[in-house]
Amino acid sequence: MNRPDKVLILGSGALRIGQAGEFDYSGSQAIKALKQEGIRTVLVNPNIATIQTTPGLADEIYLVPVAADFVEKVIKRERPDGILLNVGGQTALNVGVELWRAGVLEKYGVRCLGTPVETIEESEDRERFAVRMRAIGVDVPRGSTASSVEGALEAAAAIGYPLMVRAAYSLGGLASGMVTSPDELRERVREALAHSPQVLVEEYLGGWKEVEYEVVRDRFGNGVTVCNMENLDPMGIHTGESIVVAPSQTLTNSEYHRLRSVSLHVADKLGIIGECNVQYALHPAGKEYRVIEVNARLSRSSALASKATGYPLAWVATKLALGHGLADLKNAVTGVTGCFFEPALDYVTVKIPRWDLNKFKAASRRIGTEMKSVGEVMAIGVTFEEALQKAVRSLGTGLDGLTDPKARVPDPRDEIAHPTDRRLYAMAQAIADGMSAREVHELSRVDPWFIARLLEIVQAAAGLAGQRLDAFDCEGLRTLKRLGFSDRALARHLGSTEDEVRSRRIQLGVVPHARRIDTLAGEFPAATNYLYMTYGGDHEEVEPEARGRPVVVLGSGPYCIGSSVEFDWCSVGMCRTASALGYRTVLINCNPETVSTDYDETDRLYFEELTLERVLDITSFEQPLGVVVSVGGQLPNTLAASLARAGVHLIGTSPDGIDRAENRRRFSALLDELHIAQPPWNELSTLDEARRFAAEVGYPVLVRPSYVLSGSAMNIAKTESSLAQYLMQAARVSPDSPVVISKFIEGAKEIEIDGVAQDGELVIYAITEHVEQSGVHSGDATVVLPPQNTYLETVRRAKWIAKSIARALRINGPFNVQFLARNNEVSVIECNLRASRSFPFVSKATGYNFIEIAARAMLGVDVKGEYRTLDLDYVAVKVPQFSFSRLKGADPVLYVEMTSTGEAACLGDSLEQAWYKAAISTGFSLPRKSVLVSIGADAHKVKLLDSLRALAAAGFELYATDGTHRFLEANGIKSQLAHKVSEGKSPSVVDLVLGKVVGCVLNIPKRTADEATLTDGYHIRRSAADIGVPLVNDAELARLFVRTLLAHPREGLEARPLSDYIRR
């Protein structure tokens, strides 16, 4: 097989629900695998926060949309002879298939490496796939379509009851559901046919086990299943929403191997070369199975499988795509065995999804066949209980384990029967409250084996009631630790403190031991650096790092809103730099969708929970030089104070410096001392005080309660009544849970400084501005570098402030300051002494690797020098990626809480060009020249008048809601009236959007996010999200949007490599 010389790799673009950081892992491994063979690599991925887009990995990096037109431009320029479609998720696969169909690949002589495109196409088309599977003797769900009640009855008779009925071509599962009898079927089908011309009648697989196999296969036909995984949540819950266990726990040998054989058969018949996964529904009695889906690419599951087994799936898949045979590839993890084998695990892994549903307004907590989670954690243990409780803690939601009362739900029975993101806790709670295991099983259909494990944990916790810590001996404590109880949980159950439990157990010699993950259960010596800690053993398997005391780096934990792949980039950058400086590196993280947890990134990897207890366990074993808490985002940063108190040395800014920035009162005092302005604020513990303070500073005010009952933690109150309403209904205010209220400054500009200081001296900084006005969370803002619309005076002032703060706090490492600027008055709203979300953006956009500089600074290397970050010949724009289409019911509105799930950034010669490319990267497209306009505030109407006039002049058809329509009319701009839904007239706003009459929606709501959301504005925004019509809901952004649209046709946008912009 001819080896290609130059390979184009398609990345997955901005992170969104269903497609997250796992593709940074697969893409990065693939690039490494190609580079090892001397193949030149070209990467297309606008996700600037990823490790794969870091200069130095791929030979050329294109921060342009993963879209057929842009990729074709890249192909034309680069002339690769191979393309890799399987490491960039569904996005890369779809674009690849599109290019192949359009003949682009053939035209330029680009060969698709690995699994042929024909196979990909076949596996993606449900109908064709089912036909193919039946033809090779593989069972798929039985079902057929019908267009009449009689037809449906006939189909049903062939399948048998119960079964599922779905209306074809309907949005949101309208009129679908389970029926158990012909009578119910008749009724349901009649109803469904009223909405849709066809119904799908399918066999009902609810309650079947859901199992997955990861398969690798080479071009000689050798295949193995690297891992099998079992979902704790049976069929009916998306696997991305399920708790997943590897290996399977409740499958017998014959079930396991039957499905394994089918997996290999499917991969063989489809002609997979590389990797695929096969998803099954398995009848609980094991008699029957159905293949639900085959993914002919690396996936979230394969990332999980890779981390669960230690088998580098993406690396192997890439080698196989290049034509290598499985048996000839050395297992890079063990160094002694080959890649043709199936890992034998001697531990159990548990994955739990990370949801962030309370960040979204009006989003339902129910989970089901659509993915809503934004990240996941994996935990490893010798017992299931140990792994499960560890996973719960790894989520970073503050729970100390399964029995944490903070996880209690009001109606557990309901949340068990109708699953929500809290079902696991609801099950544990119900068991604790006396529900029988049998009933839990009947309500949830979760396999009794898993419920029995929950029962063991709950019973052990119940057994602690009334006991005292000093009554426990070594064996007693060890038994509890083997069931996964944390020191904090034990302290809670025993009326003790975490410190006391810790010292007691250490005194008794109850400590966890590090174990290797070696892919073969110890059968051969394998010097892997992949470790976890467990109470399941009592012998030391590894020695502390012998070649010098290491630097311990705390990773990011799970991806969630506000903490994503950017912190993995920072963690990896920190480790690589420390390593280059000759330090031994140890990384701790629990997120399987990361590059940082790859086997070849650090000297030692602890796949572990990021809790005080575990970090101390590791540091007391490793005796490191120090711990870095400032590169993994907020989760590790919050451990700074307690680690320091426990005597752990922090590398970077001192714990006191961190506290002075984190502690609101201390930081405020510091700003006053430095004569730096800040919005007035106060911490208040009664409603009356809150009212008085708000009246004093004037509305609107930003409200941050410390205890939230429902909804989001931050809100803006415009009036006294809305403040009172919020503080009485959504939050609680008391001396124990005070509320912080600050003056909200309207109409201001937000700017940010990302910087690195060394021993208090500012070394390098990058200044960015937001397109949107204040009030949009910085993570949801459109960020521009260098600033295009900020006064030089403001820039100077901001830099001076950053310098002063750096000096005052003696910052040593990364930091970020957020400012509000209005008429050259600059005030500080936040300061974090850690790497920020925008670190990779400013690094790649300026050409200076900020995290590398920060790492060197923290490790004492002199990094002072000249860095040019302001006077650039190009503009870089970062655009948020939202996932509202996945979150049924959530209000897609920008406000003070972050709701975006990812970002894309592009470079261009102008703000408009860079923004347009970045916007396209996040899914923006404009299929038709018609726009629905709905502007709440008069000031915004005036502000947008010129833009709307220009749009109309350019031939755009404008539809406008009542007030906007009248305003446009009064200003001589023609628009058609769009009726409110409540008026019942046609066309209503929703008709216009859902009917795709309009190509775009400009909906600029008044910023009254604390008021009822089920308004017409909500309907407009929600239907735009449902149907995938671009939605702009900020006035400044709308102006940029119109300017861009009128001046820059998409065809004219350039695809140039990053190296073309960054030249020095």
């Binding site: 010798v382 396999d447 110890g522 059968e523």
Partner: protein, 362 residues
């Protein structure tokens, strides 16, 4: 939580590991070996090849799907638990699986087989790997050392004779239309797993299962399958001698595991003891002269020494991990044997084609 009784696992080098008892509370002695399979404890525990051994499972959770009813004979590899004792990290006593009639610890108790849980099985495995397999015993905490008999070594006696059938047994496959037609196969039972017999019967042949020392050379047959079994192949001189005479008849012979070692000895080659054996379901083998590999189920402590193979024999399969012999065959005559288990059970089903090839050759 269960109330636990303390037991020890003692190794011949003096190591003592403390754990908790499950199953039968009592003593056991044998060769301590580890298996890396993650499923299939029911099949493994009833595999006669484990006779005389204390089995350590590297996968920590054992017992998850319970044990089938005794009446479902096809779910077991023999009619009793064959291991002398079982060592696991965690024994689960669930029986909630639809195919389960009782829990794994109950089953062990009913057959008076002691189990130990709560042992650091990874540590134990690494120890066995570094030192090689060792003899050992399971001891209830209160047994005085003076009352102990010496440790039992299954490799020093003819352990095969304890697991083979006492009298010949004949059966015909229910599928008369199978590829085997009316062919007759002698199944030399050295401790055969039921699934091997099942694979033959499923192909429609008539199976005559004979004791390991039976002289079948005078009987009518179309082929011979020499089965798996426990212990050291050199302890079976009679079986080897009969096999040597059978080879002279020139009819097809297939060896499986111990059967292959016996074939090698009959052909004049030698066998040796592996340091810690191959026991698991993920052993990769490559067919000589081919790019095709297969993942196999294995359970053997001895192997054929490739250097001692006579000129008219060749290596058929090689273990990709350590290069050891995983199959041999005669260059001209229809004699072949594999060190792995094509019948799987437990393990991957990738090699059942070997039964097809054998039956087709009859």
């Amino acid at each position: 939580m269960r109330t636990t009784r303390r037991v020890f696992l003692e190794l011949e080098d003096g190591t003592r590991l403390a754990g908790s008892s499950f199953g039968h509370f009592g003593q056991a002695s044998g060769e301590v070996v580890f298996s890396t399979g993650m499923t299939g404890y029911v099949e493994s525990l009833t595999d006669p090849s484990f006779r005389g051994q204390i089995l350590v499972m590297t996968y920590p959770l054992i017992g998850n799907y319970g044990v089938p009813d005794k009446a479902e004979v096809d779910r077991f590899e023999s009619d009793r638990i064959q291991v002398a004792g079982l060592v696991v990290a965690r024994a689960h006593d669930d029986a909630s699986h639809a195919g389960a009639a009782r829990s794994m610890p109950e089953w062990l108790a009913s057959e008076e087989i002691p189990g130990v849980e709560g042992i650091d099985t990874r540590h134990l495995t690494l120890r066995l790997r570094e030192h090689g397999t060792m003899l050992g015993r399971i001891l209830p905490a209160e047994v005085p050392l003076a009352e102990l008999a010496p440790m039992f070594d299954p490799n020093r006696i003819d352990v095969v004779s304890t697991v083979t059938v006492k009298e010949p047994w004949s059966g015909v496959g229910s599928q008369g239309s199978g590829i085997g037609g009316r062919k007759r196969v002698i199944l030399v039972d050295c401790g055969v797993k039921r699934s091997i017999r099942r694979e033959l019967l499923a192909r429609g042949v008539e199976v005559r299962q004979v004791p390991s020392n039976w002289d079948y050379t005078g009987e009518p047959f179309d082929g011979i399958l020499v089965s798996n079994g426990p212990g050291n192949p050199e302890q079976c001189p009679t079986t080897i001698e009969v096999l040597r005479r059978a080879m002279a008849l020139g009819r097809p012979i297939l060896g499986i595991c111990l059967g292959t070692q016996l074939m090698a000895l009959a052909a004049g080659a030698r066998t040796y003891k592996l340091r810690y054996g191959h026991r698991g379901q993920n052993q990769p083998c490559r067919e000589s002269g081919s790019d095709r590999c297969r993942l196999t189920s294995q359970n053997h402590g001895y192997a054929v020494d490739a250097r001692t193979l006579p000129d008219d024999w060749q290596v058929w399969f090689t273990n990709i991990n350590d290069g050891s012999v995983e199959g041999i065959r005669h260059k001209r005559r229809p004699f072949a044997g594999v060190q792995f288990h094509p019948e799987a059970s437990p393990g991957p089903l990738d090699s059942r084609d070997l039964f097809d090839r054998f039956v087709e050759s009859l």
